[in-house]
């Protein structure tokens, strides 16, 4: 124990004698860990965000395919397509929703129509009512912020044919749901149809909620049997798609970091081994004054472990600060794609221990290895040779 403290002390002195080199190495480690860690933290937090609301998503979505693309479905055919009386089915509806490009916003708004159960989801106001004298709507936070509207204000939105529709804002979604609802505009069925240019009697898709989600494959089979051109998306498929989206993107980012890591290790090898002369001499001196090879190596292990672990630690903290305090500046673009409507990133940290250990293993272990091997080689030659 005493010996370890003494060797640690010596290692610290050695670090200080070559402070700039080691600071540079630690910064490089911190950068790699920081960028990689940011990507992991962000992807994990988003995944966690989506998983937490997974249960509220419909169990089955039925689309109709036409030429391989989703086409509108008949509202009246709902009862024919979905076995409403089957024991597992709780409810089914034909949904009216779609995208509306709003030029003033430079972005798409997700328009959702119909009587929606919005209890508990609104920060202010109430759900829109059909048949009001002026069409009513509920908007997400990003929309409300962008147009600076509150319940009671009016909002002019161009419909799909370019004519302005004057909507009365009657509610705003809670800020906590911004990640899901930032660009959502909920209005009554007729107004939604007008905005989206959706003909009467048609809908975007059918959504089915089951009382026992594990029966989804059975019900999906029945739907397929009843409607030949149906494509049924089970919740499992939604999960898969979603996880893949962010796995794919964060994986892409991580792949870009592999060369960075390689460069770092190369740098370590180069700086710690190639440097040679002065350091070899120092190792020779230590051996000459009676250090054993393992003493030299232990001191060296301390040295590089301090640099690597310290750098990785700082990098991990920086990654957290970057993602959760600085809203992942720079990274969100790469991970999300283009967006004009930024929801505030109020993320919940989720830390995947496997990923954390992998990251440490990928950075710290090779780093320490790359600095130990040359020291071991220098320490195992004859003292005589080392100091000549």
């Amino acid at each position: 124990m005493r010996r370890q403290w003494a060797l640690l002390e010596h290692a610290l002195g050695s670090l200080r004698r070559r402070a700039w080199r080691h600071v540079a190495l630690a910064v490089a480690v911190a950068l790699v860990v920081g960028v990689y860690g940011s990507a992991l933290l962000l992807a994990d937090a988003l995944r966690g965000e989506w998983r937490s609301t997974l249960a509220s998503v419909p169990d089955l979505v039925v689309q109709r395919l036409e030429g391989g693309r989703p086409a509108l479905v008949e509202v009246a055919a709902l009862a024919e397509v979905v076995p409403l009386d089957a024991p597992g089915v709780r409810s089914a509806e034909a949904r009216v929703w779609g995208y509306l490009f709003v030029e003033a916003l430079g972005a798409n708004v997700t328009v959702v129509g119909g009587e929606r159960p919005l209890d508990g989801a609104l920060a202010a106001g109430r759900a829109p009512r059909a048949g009001a004298e002026r069409p009513e709507c509920v908007v997400g936070v990003a929309l409300a912020d962008h147009f600076a509207v509150r319940p009671g204000d009016r909002l002019a939105v161009p419909d799909a044919r370019g004519e302005l529709v004057l909507l009365e804002v009657v509610g705003v979604f809670v800020a906590a749901s911004a990640l899901q609802t930032a660009d959502v505009l909920v209005t009554d069925d007729a107004t939604a149809r007008r905005l989206l240019a959706l003909p009467e009697g048609r809908a975007t898709d059918y959504a089915v909620t089951l009382s026992r989600p594990e029966e989804a494959p059975v019900i999906a089979g029945q739907v397929r049997a009843r409607m030949s051109d149906a494509r049924v998306i089970e919740r499992d498929a939604l999960v898969r798609t979603y996880e893949l989206t962010f796995d794919g993107r964060s994986g892409l980012l991580s792949a870009l970091l592999v060369p960075c890591l390689a460069v770092l290790l190369l740098l370590v090898w180069e700086r710690l081994s190639g440097l040679g002369e002065a350091e070899r001499r120092e190792i020779g001196v230590l051996k000459a004054v009676g250090w054993e090879t393992r003493d030299v190596l232990t001191a060296r292990l301390w040295e590089s472990a301090i640099v690597a672990v310290g750098g990785a630690w700082v990098g991990a903290l920086a990654a957290y600060a970057h993602v959760f305090w600085l809203d992942a500046v720079g990274l969100r673009g790469a991970l999300f794609g283009w967006s004009a409507l930024h929801p505030p990133l109020e993320l919940t940290p989720v830390i995947d221990p496997t990923a954390a250990w992998t990251l440490l293993g990928v950075v710290v272990v090779p780093f320490v290895g790359a600095s130990i091997v040359p020291a071991w080689r220098a320490a195992s030659i004859d003292v005589d040779e080392a100091i000549r």
Binding site: W5, A278, R281, V289, G290, W291, T293, R294, V383, D384
Partner: protein, 233 residues
């Protein structure tokens, strides 16, 4: 006490070291026998390339001999395992290299305490002993100065202090007066004489008459082409 003082502290019997320099075989040391007793100051003279430094390395356990036996403090070190030999050497031999081998950008005191690190660092007694040594060597003021800012004589004495910090029975020195002026050389010789009086066995290589011809030197041998012979006249 007198009996112990006359006992052998370090010795070699028919020791040889050969190595290959490219394709040519070099007999650096060839069949040397030598013994130094406690309280004895022995000088090895010889031209450069005569094998003096190699002999010193063999005796100090830094170089493994091709043939022969080396004894340090009554134990043969030739067949010891590496780390045993290192420990034995650390405990019993102080070594001052020709190039001194102090670590730059490290303070003098730290350099002196360097041999203590593997055994757990400097304890209070060690630090006190190191400070006494430095004081005796006239280096008390330079204790915290980086060694690269010391003069040649100060470095020489610093290296000597490091060799003595573990109070070894044997002190081996390679050209201890080679790089210093007359005043410093005399000082080093005085210090060696003091250490000799304290009962240490001292073996120094030199071709410097300031050391070799000092009356306090007990014995001088001459090395020539890897072999020892008695000095002329």
């Amino acid at each position: 006490m007198t009996e112990r003082a006359s006992a052998e502290a370090i010795g070699a019997t028919d020791v040889a070291k050969r190595y290959f320099d490219g394709a040519t075989r070099v007999h650096a040391v060839e069949g040397v026998s030598l013994s130094v007793a406690r309280g004895e100051l022995v000088v090895v003279q010889g031209t450069s390339g005569s094998g003096k430094t190699t002999l010193l390395g063999l005796l100090g356990g830094l170089i493994a001999p091709t043939r022969g036996d080396v004894r340090i403090a009554g134990k043969s070190t030739v067949h010891m395992r590496d780390h045993h030999r290192t420990r034995w050497r650390r405990a019993h031999v102080g070594f001052v290299f020709q190039e001194l081998q102090l670590i730059r950008r490290m303070s003098l005191l730290e350099n002196v305490l360097l041999p203590l690190v593997p055994s757990g660092g400097a304890r209070m007694t060690h630090v006190e002993r190191a400070e006494r040594l430095l004081e005796r060597f006239g280096l008390a003021e330079k204790r915290d100065v980086g060694v690269e800012r010391l003069s040649g004589g100060e470095r020489q004495r610093g290296a000597l202090a490091r060799a003595l910090v573990l109070e070894p029975e044997v002190l081996l020195l390679d050209e201890p007066t080679a790089h210093v002026d007359a005043e410093n050389a005399a000082r080093v010789v005085d210090l060696l004489a003091e250490e000799k009086a304290a009962g240490r066995a001292i073996l120094a290589t030199t071709h410097d008459p300031r050391l070799a011809d000092d009356p306090r030197v007990d014995r001088a041998v001459v090395m020539e082409a890897g072999q020892l012979r008695a000095p002329d006249a």
